[in-house]
Subunit: 299 residues, 2 copies
Protein backbone atom coordinates (compact mmCIF):
# COMPACT_ATOMS: atom_id res chain seq x y z
CA UNK A 1 0.00 0.00 0.00
CA UNK A 2 1.20 3.54 -0.66
CA UNK A 3 2.98 2.62 -3.88
CA UNK A 4 1.61 2.88 -7.38
CA UNK A 5 0.95 -0.83 -7.57
CA UNK A 6 0.94 -3.78 -5.18
CA UNK A 7 3.48 -6.53 -5.58
CA UNK A 8 2.17 -10.08 -5.52
CA UNK A 9 4.57 -13.03 -5.48
CA UNK A 10 2.88 -16.00 -7.13
CA UNK A 11 3.73 -19.46 -5.77
CA UNK A 12 5.49 -21.78 -8.20
CA UNK A 13 3.10 -24.39 -9.59
CA UNK A 14 0.08 -22.17 -8.98
CA UNK A 15 -1.88 -19.96 -11.29
CA UNK A 16 -3.35 -16.60 -10.39
CA UNK A 17 -7.05 -15.86 -10.68
CA UNK A 18 -8.44 -12.39 -11.12
CA UNK A 19 -11.94 -11.09 -10.77
CA UNK A 20 -13.63 -7.74 -10.25
CA UNK A 21 -17.08 -6.90 -9.00
CA UNK A 22 -19.17 -3.80 -8.67
CA UNK A 23 -20.95 -3.00 -5.45
CA UNK A 24 -23.13 0.04 -5.99
CA UNK A 25 -25.44 2.05 -3.82
CA UNK A 26 -29.00 1.68 -5.09
CA UNK A 27 -28.10 -1.38 -7.15
CA UNK A 28 -26.33 -3.75 -4.76
CA UNK A 29 -27.14 -2.12 -1.47
CA UNK A 30 -29.46 0.52 -0.04
CA UNK A 31 -27.63 3.28 1.77
CA UNK A 32 -30.53 3.94 4.15
CA UNK A 33 -31.24 0.28 4.94
CA UNK A 34 -28.03 -1.73 4.84
CA UNK A 35 -25.65 -1.41 7.78
CA UNK A 36 -22.25 -0.17 6.48
CA UNK A 37 -20.58 -3.04 8.35
CA UNK A 38 -22.52 -5.50 6.19
CA UNK A 39 -21.71 -3.55 3.00
CA UNK A 40 -18.00 -3.88 3.85
CA UNK A 41 -18.31 -7.61 4.50
CA UNK A 42 -20.45 -8.30 1.49
CA UNK A 43 -18.43 -6.49 -1.16
CA UNK A 44 -15.44 -8.72 -0.38
CA UNK A 45 -17.54 -11.86 0.10
CA UNK A 46 -19.09 -11.30 -3.31
CA UNK A 47 -15.74 -10.87 -5.08
CA UNK A 48 -14.08 -13.84 -3.38
CA UNK A 49 -17.12 -15.99 -4.21
CA UNK A 50 -16.07 -15.69 -7.87
CA UNK A 51 -12.72 -17.19 -6.87
CA UNK A 52 -14.44 -19.98 -4.91
CA UNK A 53 -16.48 -20.68 -8.05
CA UNK A 54 -13.26 -21.50 -9.91
CA UNK A 55 -11.87 -23.54 -7.03
CA UNK A 56 -9.33 -20.87 -6.07
CA UNK A 57 -8.41 -19.54 -2.64
CA UNK A 58 -8.23 -15.77 -2.16
CA UNK A 59 -4.81 -14.12 -1.74
CA UNK A 60 -5.53 -10.39 -1.58
CA UNK A 61 -7.84 -7.71 -2.92
CA UNK A 62 -7.83 -4.16 -4.30
CA UNK A 63 -10.56 -1.74 -3.27
CA UNK A 64 -11.78 1.09 -5.50
CA UNK A 65 -14.14 3.29 -3.57
CA UNK A 66 -15.82 6.51 -4.68
CA UNK A 67 -17.60 8.36 -1.92
CA UNK A 68 -18.77 11.79 -0.88
CA UNK A 69 -17.19 13.70 2.02
CA UNK A 70 -20.45 13.02 3.92
CA UNK A 71 -19.54 9.31 4.01
CA UNK A 72 -15.90 9.84 4.87
CA UNK A 73 -16.59 9.55 8.59
CA UNK A 74 -18.64 7.09 10.62
CA UNK A 75 -20.08 5.36 7.56
CA UNK A 76 -16.58 4.72 6.22
CA UNK A 77 -15.30 3.57 9.64
CA UNK A 78 -18.05 0.98 9.94
CA UNK A 79 -17.64 -0.07 6.31
CA UNK A 80 -13.92 -0.62 6.83
CA UNK A 81 -14.58 -2.55 10.03
CA UNK A 82 -16.89 -4.92 8.11
CA UNK A 83 -14.39 -5.18 5.27
CA UNK A 84 -11.58 -5.98 7.68
CA UNK A 85 -13.55 -8.73 9.37
CA UNK A 86 -14.27 -10.29 5.98
CA UNK A 87 -10.59 -9.93 5.00
CA UNK A 88 -9.59 -11.68 8.23
CA UNK A 89 -12.20 -14.41 7.94
CA UNK A 90 -11.55 -15.06 4.24
CA UNK A 91 -7.73 -14.86 4.58
CA UNK A 92 -7.72 -12.12 1.96
CA UNK A 93 -5.81 -8.97 3.00
CA UNK A 94 -6.02 -5.61 1.23
CA UNK A 95 -3.18 -5.01 -1.24
CA UNK A 96 -4.11 -1.56 -2.51
CA UNK A 97 -6.82 0.55 -3.99
CA UNK A 98 -7.96 3.88 -5.28
CA UNK A 99 -10.21 6.42 -3.61
CA UNK A 100 -12.08 9.20 -5.32
CA UNK A 101 -15.02 11.47 -4.84
CA UNK A 102 -18.56 10.80 -5.96
CA UNK A 103 -21.99 11.93 -4.86
CA UNK A 104 -23.15 8.33 -4.71
CA UNK A 105 -21.19 5.49 -3.18
CA UNK A 106 -19.48 3.25 -5.70
CA UNK A 107 -17.36 0.28 -4.78
CA UNK A 108 -15.43 -2.02 -7.06
CA UNK A 109 -13.44 -4.90 -5.60
CA UNK A 110 -10.79 -6.82 -7.48
CA UNK A 111 -9.96 -10.11 -5.82
CA UNK A 112 -6.82 -12.09 -6.56
CA UNK A 113 -6.68 -15.80 -5.84
CA UNK A 114 -4.63 -18.84 -6.66
CA UNK A 115 -5.08 -22.50 -7.36
CA UNK A 116 -2.81 -25.31 -8.48
CA UNK A 117 -1.94 -25.04 -12.13
CA UNK A 118 -4.56 -26.69 -14.31
CA UNK A 119 -7.05 -27.26 -11.50
CA UNK A 120 -9.29 -24.21 -11.94
CA UNK A 121 -12.88 -25.25 -12.72
CA UNK A 122 -14.52 -23.39 -15.57
CA UNK A 123 -18.15 -23.20 -16.66
CA UNK A 124 -17.58 -25.06 -19.88
CA UNK A 125 -17.03 -28.64 -18.76
CA UNK A 126 -20.57 -29.91 -18.05
CA UNK A 127 -21.46 -33.01 -20.11
CA UNK A 128 -24.79 -34.80 -20.67
CA UNK A 129 -25.32 -37.30 -17.87
CA UNK A 130 -23.49 -35.20 -15.24
CA UNK A 131 -25.37 -34.63 -12.01
CA UNK A 132 -26.15 -31.04 -11.03
CA UNK A 133 -25.47 -30.06 -7.42
CA UNK A 134 -25.99 -26.94 -5.34
CA UNK A 135 -24.55 -26.15 -1.96
CA UNK A 136 -26.57 -24.84 0.99
CA UNK A 137 -30.10 -23.46 0.91
CA UNK A 138 -31.19 -21.20 -1.95
CA UNK A 139 -33.39 -18.14 -1.58
CA UNK A 140 -32.51 -17.19 1.99
CA UNK A 141 -30.59 -14.09 0.91
CA UNK A 142 -33.57 -12.92 -1.14
CA UNK A 143 -35.85 -13.56 1.81
CA UNK A 144 -33.57 -11.38 3.95
CA UNK A 145 -33.67 -8.63 1.35
CA UNK A 146 -37.47 -8.69 1.22
CA UNK A 147 -37.71 -8.50 5.01
CA UNK A 148 -35.31 -5.55 5.00
CA UNK A 149 -37.26 -3.79 2.26
CA UNK A 150 -40.57 -4.36 4.02
CA UNK A 151 -39.26 -3.42 7.47
CA UNK A 152 -39.63 0.06 8.87
CA UNK A 153 -37.29 -0.12 11.83
CA UNK A 154 -33.52 0.08 11.45
CA UNK A 155 -32.06 -3.24 10.33
CA UNK A 156 -30.99 -5.47 13.20
CA UNK A 157 -27.80 -7.08 11.92
CA UNK A 158 -28.17 -9.87 14.51
CA UNK A 159 -31.56 -10.99 13.14
CA UNK A 160 -30.85 -14.58 12.02
CA UNK A 161 -33.30 -14.35 9.09
CA UNK A 162 -31.14 -11.56 7.64
CA UNK A 163 -27.81 -13.28 8.18
CA UNK A 164 -27.55 -14.88 4.72
CA UNK A 165 -28.38 -11.57 3.07
CA UNK A 166 -26.14 -9.36 5.19
CA UNK A 167 -23.21 -11.70 5.79
CA UNK A 168 -23.02 -14.29 3.01
CA UNK A 169 -20.18 -16.78 3.31
CA UNK A 170 -18.50 -17.62 0.03
CA UNK A 171 -17.91 -21.36 -0.29
CA UNK A 172 -14.16 -21.13 -0.56
CA UNK A 173 -13.24 -24.38 1.19
CA UNK A 174 -15.86 -26.30 -0.74
CA UNK A 175 -14.78 -24.85 -4.10
CA UNK A 176 -11.12 -25.57 -3.40
CA UNK A 177 -11.94 -29.14 -2.28
CA UNK A 178 -13.98 -29.86 -5.43
CA UNK A 179 -11.24 -28.39 -7.65
CA UNK A 180 -8.24 -30.01 -6.02
CA UNK A 181 -9.94 -33.43 -6.15
CA UNK A 182 -11.14 -32.87 -9.72
CA UNK A 183 -14.71 -33.63 -8.71
CA UNK A 184 -16.54 -30.84 -10.58
CA UNK A 185 -16.74 -30.79 -14.38
CA UNK A 186 -18.14 -27.22 -14.34
CA UNK A 187 -18.80 -24.75 -11.55
CA UNK A 188 -20.06 -21.23 -10.88
CA UNK A 189 -21.42 -19.32 -7.92
CA UNK A 190 -25.09 -18.46 -7.56
CA UNK A 191 -25.04 -14.67 -7.44
CA UNK A 192 -28.01 -13.86 -9.68
CA UNK A 193 -30.33 -16.77 -8.85
CA UNK A 194 -30.56 -20.36 -10.11
CA UNK A 195 -32.98 -19.43 -12.91
CA UNK A 196 -30.36 -17.04 -14.36
CA UNK A 197 -27.18 -18.86 -13.47
CA UNK A 198 -28.00 -22.45 -14.45
CA UNK A 199 -28.85 -21.41 -18.04
CA UNK A 200 -25.50 -19.54 -18.13
CA UNK A 201 -23.58 -22.61 -17.08
CA UNK A 202 -25.47 -24.71 -19.61
CA UNK A 203 -24.87 -22.21 -22.39
CA UNK A 204 -21.13 -22.05 -21.63
CA UNK A 205 -20.96 -25.85 -21.76
CA UNK A 206 -23.23 -26.19 -24.83
CA UNK A 207 -25.71 -28.40 -22.97
CA UNK A 208 -29.15 -28.26 -21.31
CA UNK A 209 -30.48 -29.35 -17.92
CA UNK A 210 -33.44 -31.07 -16.28
CA UNK A 211 -33.97 -30.25 -12.63
CA UNK A 212 -36.63 -31.34 -10.15
CA UNK A 213 -38.37 -28.57 -8.24
CA UNK A 214 -38.87 -30.64 -5.09
CA UNK A 215 -35.15 -31.46 -4.87
CA UNK A 216 -34.08 -27.81 -4.81
CA UNK A 217 -33.06 -26.95 -1.24
CA UNK A 218 -35.15 -23.85 -0.61
CA UNK A 219 -35.06 -21.35 2.22
CA UNK A 220 -35.79 -22.52 5.74
CA UNK A 221 -39.02 -20.59 6.34
CA UNK A 222 -40.55 -20.38 9.76
CA UNK A 223 -43.75 -19.01 11.26
CA UNK A 224 -45.65 -16.51 9.14
CA UNK A 225 -42.96 -16.44 6.47
CA UNK A 226 -43.91 -20.01 5.50
CA UNK A 227 -47.35 -18.66 4.52
CA UNK A 228 -46.18 -15.35 3.09
CA UNK A 229 -43.39 -16.49 0.77
CA UNK A 230 -43.19 -19.06 -2.01
CA UNK A 231 -40.07 -21.08 -1.18
CA UNK A 232 -39.62 -22.40 -4.72
CA UNK A 233 -39.70 -19.01 -6.38
CA UNK A 234 -37.29 -17.61 -3.77
CA UNK A 235 -34.94 -20.54 -4.44
CA UNK A 236 -35.18 -20.23 -8.24
CA UNK A 237 -35.11 -16.48 -8.64
CA UNK A 238 -33.45 -15.08 -5.53
CA UNK A 239 -29.98 -13.66 -5.95
CA UNK A 240 -27.06 -13.05 -3.61
CA UNK A 241 -26.88 -16.58 -2.18
CA UNK A 242 -23.23 -17.12 -3.16
CA UNK A 243 -23.75 -20.85 -2.98
CA UNK A 244 -21.96 -23.04 -5.52
CA UNK A 245 -23.60 -24.67 -8.54
CA UNK A 246 -21.53 -27.53 -9.94
CA UNK A 247 -21.75 -30.59 -12.13
CA UNK A 248 -20.26 -34.01 -11.39
CA UNK A 249 -19.64 -36.86 -13.79
CA UNK A 250 -21.68 -40.03 -13.03
CA UNK A 251 -18.67 -42.07 -11.91
CA UNK A 252 -17.75 -39.51 -9.26
CA UNK A 253 -21.18 -38.81 -7.78
CA UNK A 254 -20.55 -41.28 -4.96
CA UNK A 255 -17.60 -39.13 -3.83
CA UNK A 256 -19.87 -36.16 -3.07
CA UNK A 257 -20.98 -36.37 0.57
CA UNK A 258 -24.41 -35.05 1.62
CA UNK A 259 -22.69 -32.26 3.53
CA UNK A 260 -19.27 -30.79 4.22
CA UNK A 261 -19.17 -29.17 7.62
CA UNK A 262 -22.45 -27.29 7.96
CA UNK A 263 -22.96 -26.93 4.21
CA UNK A 264 -25.30 -29.38 2.49
CA UNK A 265 -24.58 -30.61 -1.05
CA UNK A 266 -27.77 -31.48 -2.90
CA UNK A 267 -28.25 -33.10 -6.33
CA UNK A 268 -31.04 -31.22 -8.10
CA UNK A 269 -31.03 -32.76 -11.57
CA UNK A 270 -29.06 -33.80 -14.58
CA UNK A 271 -27.25 -32.29 -17.53
CA UNK A 272 -28.87 -33.21 -20.86
CA UNK A 273 -27.81 -32.89 -24.48
CA UNK A 274 -30.95 -31.02 -25.48
CA UNK A 275 -30.63 -27.23 -25.10
CA UNK A 276 -32.78 -25.41 -22.55
CA UNK A 277 -33.36 -25.75 -18.84
CA UNK A 278 -36.46 -27.69 -17.78
CA UNK A 279 -37.95 -27.82 -14.31
CA UNK A 280 -40.05 -30.77 -13.29
CA UNK A 281 -42.64 -29.35 -10.92
CA UNK A 282 -44.16 -32.73 -10.05
CA UNK A 283 -45.96 -35.47 -11.96
CA UNK A 284 -45.65 -35.33 -15.73
CA UNK A 285 -45.35 -31.56 -15.83
CA UNK A 286 -42.19 -29.90 -16.97
CA UNK A 287 -41.72 -26.18 -17.52
CA UNK A 288 -39.02 -24.28 -19.35
CA UNK A 289 -37.11 -22.25 -16.81
CA UNK A 290 -37.67 -18.50 -17.18
CA UNK A 291 -34.81 -16.21 -16.24
CA UNK A 292 -36.16 -14.15 -13.39
CA UNK A 293 -32.95 -13.63 -11.46
CA UNK A 294 -30.84 -10.57 -11.23
CA UNK A 295 -30.08 -8.58 -14.37
CA UNK A 296 -29.11 -4.93 -13.88
CA UNK A 297 -30.22 -4.02 -17.40
CA UNK A 298 -33.69 -5.50 -17.13
CA UNK A 299 -34.94 -3.82 -13.97
Amino acid sequence: MGDDAAIFRPRPGYETLLTCDWFLEGTHFLLDRHPPHSVGWKCLARATSDLAAMGAKPCCFLLSIALSPAHADSWLDEFLRGLRSAAYRLHCPAAGGDTTRSRRLRISVTAIGECRRGRAVERTGARPGDAIFVSGHLGEAELGLRLIRAGKRPVDARDRRLRKHLYPEPRIELGAWLASNRLATAMMDLSDGLSSDLPRLCEASGVGARIAARQIPGPRLSGENAQKFDGLSLALDGGDDYELLFTVSPRKISQIPPRIGRVSLTPIGQVVGEKGVFVNTGGQQEIVLAKKGWDPFRR
Copy 2:
Protein backbone atom coordinates in the same frame (compact mmCIF):
# COMPACT_ATOMS: atom_id res chain seq x y z
CA MET B 1 -13.75 -14.14 -20.33
CA GLY B 2 -17.17 -15.58 -19.58
CA ASP B 3 -15.99 -17.40 -16.47
CA ASP B 4 -16.21 -16.17 -12.90
CA ALA B 5 -12.54 -15.22 -12.83
CA ALA B 6 -9.71 -14.89 -15.31
CA ILE B 7 -6.73 -17.23 -15.11
CA PHE B 8 -3.31 -15.63 -15.24
CA ARG B 9 -0.19 -17.81 -15.48
CA PRO B 10 2.72 -15.93 -13.88
CA ARG B 11 6.17 -16.46 -15.38
CA PRO B 12 8.72 -18.12 -13.10
CA GLY B 13 11.18 -15.58 -11.70
CA TYR B 14 8.72 -12.73 -12.12
CA GLU B 15 6.46 -11.03 -9.66
CA THR B 16 2.97 -9.80 -10.39
CA LEU B 17 1.95 -6.17 -9.93
CA LEU B 18 -1.61 -5.09 -9.33
CA THR B 19 -3.18 -1.67 -9.50
CA CYS B 20 -6.65 -0.23 -9.84
CA ASP B 21 -7.81 3.18 -10.93
CA TRP B 22 -11.08 5.03 -11.07
CA PHE B 23 -12.12 6.85 -14.19
CA LEU B 24 -15.31 8.76 -13.48
CA GLU B 25 -17.58 10.98 -15.50
CA GLY B 26 -17.42 14.50 -14.12
CA THR B 27 -14.24 13.80 -12.18
CA HIS B 28 -11.82 12.30 -14.71
CA PHE B 29 -13.63 13.10 -17.92
CA LEU B 30 -16.48 15.24 -19.16
CA LEU B 31 -19.16 13.27 -20.94
CA ASP B 32 -20.13 16.17 -23.19
CA ARG B 33 -16.56 17.21 -24.06
CA HIS B 34 -14.31 14.16 -24.15
CA PRO B 35 -14.55 11.87 -27.17
CA PRO B 36 -15.46 8.35 -25.98
CA HIS B 37 -12.55 6.97 -27.99
CA SER B 38 -10.17 9.03 -25.84
CA VAL B 39 -11.94 7.95 -22.63
CA GLY B 40 -11.36 4.32 -23.62
CA TRP B 41 -7.69 4.96 -24.38
CA LYS B 42 -7.05 7.02 -21.31
CA CYS B 43 -8.61 4.76 -18.68
CA LEU B 44 -6.19 2.00 -19.65
CA ALA B 45 -3.23 4.35 -20.15
CA ARG B 46 -3.80 5.72 -16.66
CA ALA B 47 -3.89 2.29 -15.03
CA THR B 48 -0.86 0.94 -16.87
CA SER B 49 1.06 4.09 -15.99
CA ASP B 50 0.98 2.88 -12.37
CA LEU B 51 2.70 -0.29 -13.55
CA ALA B 52 5.29 1.70 -15.52
CA ALA B 53 5.94 3.68 -12.34
CA MET B 54 7.08 0.47 -10.63
CA GLY B 55 9.11 -0.66 -13.64
CA ALA B 56 6.61 -3.35 -14.60
CA LYS B 57 5.22 -4.24 -18.01
CA PRO B 58 1.46 -4.70 -18.38
CA CYS B 59 0.07 -8.22 -18.89
CA CYS B 60 -3.70 -7.81 -18.88
CA PHE B 61 -6.52 -5.77 -17.37
CA LEU B 62 -10.00 -6.09 -15.89
CA LEU B 63 -12.66 -3.53 -16.72
CA SER B 64 -15.50 -2.61 -14.35
CA ILE B 65 -17.95 -0.36 -16.13
CA ALA B 66 -21.24 1.01 -14.86
CA LEU B 67 -23.33 2.74 -17.47
CA SER B 68 -26.86 3.67 -18.36
CA PRO B 69 -28.75 2.05 -21.25
CA ALA B 70 -28.39 5.41 -23.07
CA HIS B 71 -24.63 4.81 -23.32
CA ALA B 72 -24.90 1.17 -24.29
CA ASP B 73 -24.81 1.99 -28.00
CA SER B 74 -22.58 4.31 -30.02
CA TRP B 75 -20.85 5.78 -26.96
CA LEU B 76 -19.90 2.31 -25.79
CA ASP B 77 -18.78 1.25 -29.27
CA GLU B 78 -16.41 4.20 -29.55
CA PHE B 79 -15.19 3.75 -25.98
CA LEU B 80 -14.38 0.09 -26.66
CA ARG B 81 -12.62 1.03 -29.89
CA GLY B 82 -10.37 3.44 -27.96
CA LEU B 83 -9.83 0.88 -25.22
CA ARG B 84 -8.89 -1.78 -27.76
CA SER B 85 -6.37 0.47 -29.46
CA ALA B 86 -4.73 1.18 -26.10
CA ALA B 87 -4.78 -2.54 -25.26
CA TYR B 88 -3.08 -3.29 -28.57
CA ARG B 89 -0.55 -0.49 -28.28
CA LEU B 90 0.30 -1.21 -24.64
CA HIS B 91 0.36 -5.02 -25.09
CA CYS B 92 -2.27 -5.34 -22.41
CA PRO B 93 -5.29 -7.47 -23.40
CA ALA B 94 -8.60 -7.60 -21.53
CA ALA B 95 -8.91 -10.56 -19.15
CA GLY B 96 -12.37 -9.93 -17.74
CA GLY B 97 -14.62 -7.46 -16.07
CA ASP B 98 -17.98 -6.62 -14.63
CA THR B 99 -20.76 -4.53 -16.13
CA THR B 100 -23.60 -2.94 -14.27
CA ARG B 101 -26.12 -0.18 -14.56
CA SER B 102 -25.68 3.37 -13.32
CA ARG B 103 -27.11 6.72 -14.27
CA ARG B 104 -23.61 8.18 -14.49
CA LEU B 105 -20.69 6.52 -16.19
CA ARG B 106 -18.23 4.89 -13.80
CA ILE B 107 -15.15 3.05 -14.90
CA SER B 108 -12.62 1.21 -12.77
CA VAL B 109 -9.65 -0.48 -14.39
CA THR B 110 -7.46 -3.05 -12.67
CA ALA B 111 -4.17 -3.54 -14.48
CA ILE B 112 -1.93 -6.55 -13.93
CA GLY B 113 1.74 -6.38 -14.77
CA GLU B 114 4.95 -8.21 -14.14
CA CYS B 115 8.60 -7.51 -13.55
CA ARG B 116 11.60 -9.59 -12.61
CA ARG B 117 11.54 -10.62 -8.99
CA GLY B 118 13.08 -7.96 -6.75
CA ARG B 119 13.34 -5.32 -9.49
CA ALA B 120 10.13 -3.35 -8.85
CA VAL B 121 10.93 0.27 -7.96
CA GLU B 122 9.03 1.65 -4.99
CA ARG B 123 8.60 5.22 -3.75
CA THR B 124 10.60 4.65 -0.62
CA GLY B 125 14.18 4.42 -1.87
CA ALA B 126 15.16 8.09 -2.48
CA ARG B 127 18.24 9.12 -0.47
CA PRO B 128 19.78 12.57 0.16
CA GLY B 129 22.13 13.38 -2.69
CA ASP B 130 20.10 11.51 -5.31
CA ALA B 131 19.28 13.47 -8.44
CA ILE B 132 15.61 14.00 -9.28
CA PHE B 133 14.56 13.40 -12.89
CA VAL B 134 11.34 13.75 -14.84
CA SER B 135 10.53 12.37 -18.27
CA GLY B 136 8.98 14.39 -21.08
CA HIS B 137 7.34 17.81 -20.81
CA LEU B 138 5.09 18.59 -17.87
CA GLY B 139 1.86 20.56 -18.04
CA GLU B 140 0.85 19.74 -21.59
CA ALA B 141 -2.05 17.55 -20.52
CA GLU B 142 -3.36 20.34 -18.28
CA LEU B 143 -3.01 22.79 -21.17
CA GLY B 144 -5.08 20.43 -23.34
CA LEU B 145 -7.76 20.20 -20.65
CA ARG B 146 -7.97 23.98 -20.37
CA LEU B 147 -8.31 24.36 -24.13
CA ILE B 148 -11.07 21.73 -24.14
CA ARG B 149 -12.88 23.43 -21.27
CA ALA B 150 -12.63 26.85 -22.92
CA GLY B 151 -13.59 25.58 -26.39
CA LYS B 152 -17.13 25.72 -27.65
CA ARG B 153 -16.85 23.54 -30.71
CA PRO B 154 -16.75 19.72 -30.48
CA VAL B 155 -13.30 18.51 -29.54
CA ASP B 156 -11.07 17.72 -32.50
CA ALA B 157 -9.18 14.62 -31.39
CA ARG B 158 -6.53 15.31 -34.04
CA ASP B 159 -5.62 18.73 -32.59
CA ARG B 160 -1.96 18.27 -31.59
CA ARG B 161 -2.28 20.58 -28.59
CA LEU B 162 -4.84 18.16 -27.13
CA ARG B 163 -2.89 15.00 -27.86
CA LYS B 164 -1.16 14.72 -24.47
CA HIS B 165 -4.46 15.23 -22.69
CA LEU B 166 -6.58 12.90 -24.81
CA TYR B 167 -4.04 10.20 -25.59
CA PRO B 168 -1.34 10.11 -22.91
CA GLU B 169 1.37 7.50 -23.41
CA PRO B 170 2.44 5.75 -20.22
CA ARG B 171 6.24 5.45 -20.05
CA ILE B 172 6.28 1.68 -19.92
CA GLU B 173 9.54 1.10 -21.80
CA LEU B 174 11.33 3.79 -19.82
CA GLY B 175 10.09 2.47 -16.47
CA ALA B 176 11.06 -1.09 -17.35
CA TRP B 177 14.50 0.04 -18.54
CA LEU B 178 15.18 2.01 -15.35
CA ALA B 179 14.02 -0.91 -13.20
CA SER B 180 15.80 -3.69 -15.01
CA ASN B 181 19.08 -1.74 -14.91
CA ARG B 182 18.55 -0.76 -11.26
CA LEU B 183 19.00 2.91 -12.15
CA ALA B 184 16.14 4.44 -10.14
CA THR B 185 16.19 4.49 -6.33
CA ALA B 186 12.54 5.60 -6.20
CA MET B 187 9.93 6.18 -8.87
CA MET B 188 6.29 7.17 -9.38
CA ASP B 189 4.19 8.49 -12.21
CA LEU B 190 3.02 12.08 -12.41
CA SER B 191 -0.74 11.75 -12.41
CA ASP B 192 -1.72 14.56 -10.05
CA GLY B 193 0.98 17.14 -10.85
CA LEU B 194 4.59 17.60 -9.70
CA SER B 195 3.57 19.83 -6.77
CA SER B 196 1.45 16.99 -5.35
CA ASP B 197 3.46 13.98 -6.44
CA LEU B 198 7.01 15.05 -5.53
CA PRO B 199 6.04 15.65 -1.88
CA ARG B 200 4.43 12.19 -1.86
CA LEU B 201 7.60 10.56 -3.09
CA CYS B 202 9.65 12.51 -0.55
CA GLU B 203 7.30 11.59 2.27
CA ALA B 204 7.39 7.91 1.37
CA SER B 205 11.20 8.02 1.36
CA GLY B 206 11.47 10.18 4.50
CA VAL B 207 13.42 12.89 2.68
CA GLY B 208 12.96 16.36 1.20
CA ALA B 209 13.81 17.91 -2.17
CA ARG B 210 15.25 21.06 -3.74
CA ILE B 211 14.27 21.66 -7.34
CA ALA B 212 15.07 24.49 -9.73
CA ALA B 213 12.11 26.10 -11.48
CA ARG B 214 14.04 26.86 -14.66
CA GLN B 215 15.11 23.24 -15.08
CA ILE B 216 11.57 21.89 -15.06
CA PRO B 217 10.67 20.92 -18.63
CA GLY B 218 7.40 22.82 -19.10
CA PRO B 219 4.81 22.63 -21.85
CA ARG B 220 5.79 23.58 -25.36
CA LEU B 221 3.61 26.68 -25.77
CA SER B 222 3.15 28.31 -29.12
CA GLY B 223 1.46 31.43 -30.42
CA GLU B 224 -1.08 33.07 -28.14
CA ASN B 225 -0.84 30.26 -25.60
CA ALA B 226 2.66 31.46 -24.71
CA GLN B 227 1.07 34.72 -23.53
CA LYS B 228 -2.08 33.26 -22.08
CA PHE B 229 -0.64 30.49 -19.92
CA ASP B 230 2.03 30.38 -17.23
CA GLY B 231 4.27 27.47 -18.26
CA LEU B 232 5.74 26.99 -14.77
CA SER B 233 2.42 26.74 -13.00
CA LEU B 234 1.11 24.33 -15.66
CA ALA B 235 4.23 22.20 -15.18
CA LEU B 236 4.04 22.27 -11.38
CA ASP B 237 0.33 21.87 -10.85
CA GLY B 238 -1.05 20.25 -14.00
CA GLY B 239 -2.17 16.65 -13.65
CA ASP B 240 -2.67 13.78 -16.08
CA ASP B 241 0.82 13.92 -17.63
CA TYR B 242 1.69 10.29 -16.82
CA GLU B 243 5.37 11.12 -17.11
CA LEU B 244 7.77 9.42 -14.72
CA LEU B 245 9.37 11.07 -11.69
CA PHE B 246 12.42 9.17 -10.46
CA THR B 247 15.54 9.55 -8.35
CA VAL B 248 19.02 8.37 -9.26
CA SER B 249 22.00 7.85 -6.96
CA PRO B 250 24.98 10.17 -7.75
CA ARG B 251 27.22 7.38 -9.05
CA LYS B 252 24.64 6.37 -11.66
CA ILE B 253 23.62 9.79 -12.98
CA SER B 254 26.02 9.46 -15.90
CA GLN B 255 24.08 6.41 -17.09
CA ILE B 256 20.92 8.47 -17.65
CA PRO B 257 20.91 9.71 -21.27
CA PRO B 258 19.31 13.08 -22.13
CA ARG B 259 16.58 11.20 -23.99
CA ILE B 260 15.37 7.72 -24.79
CA GLY B 261 13.65 7.61 -28.14
CA ARG B 262 11.49 10.74 -28.28
CA VAL B 263 11.23 11.08 -24.52
CA SER B 264 13.55 13.54 -22.77
CA LEU B 265 14.96 12.79 -19.31
CA THR B 266 15.63 15.97 -17.34
CA PRO B 267 17.33 16.45 -13.96
CA ILE B 268 15.31 19.03 -12.02
CA GLY B 269 16.96 18.98 -8.58
CA GLN B 270 18.23 16.97 -5.70
CA VAL B 271 16.97 14.92 -2.79
CA VAL B 272 17.89 16.50 0.57
CA GLY B 273 17.76 15.27 4.15
CA GLU B 274 15.70 18.22 5.35
CA LYS B 275 11.93 17.58 5.08
CA GLY B 276 9.86 19.71 2.67
CA VAL B 277 10.05 20.48 -1.01
CA PHE B 278 11.70 23.74 -2.02
CA VAL B 279 11.59 25.37 -5.43
CA ASN B 280 14.37 27.73 -6.43
CA THR B 281 12.67 30.29 -8.64
CA GLY B 282 15.91 32.12 -9.56
CA GLY B 283 18.53 33.99 -7.64
CA GLN B 284 18.52 33.54 -3.88
CA GLN B 285 14.78 32.97 -3.70
CA GLU B 286 13.42 29.65 -2.65
CA ILE B 287 9.76 28.88 -1.99
CA VAL B 288 8.15 25.95 -0.24
CA LEU B 289 6.18 24.02 -2.79
CA ALA B 290 2.43 24.24 -2.28
CA LYS B 291 0.32 21.25 -3.27
CA LYS B 292 -1.93 22.52 -6.00
CA GLY B 293 -2.26 19.40 -8.07
CA TRP B 294 -5.15 17.06 -8.29
CA ASP B 295 -6.95 16.04 -5.13
CA PRO B 296 -10.54 14.79 -5.54
CA PHE B 297 -11.42 15.73 -1.95
CA ARG B 298 -10.20 19.29 -2.14
CA ARG B 299 -11.97 20.54 -5.23
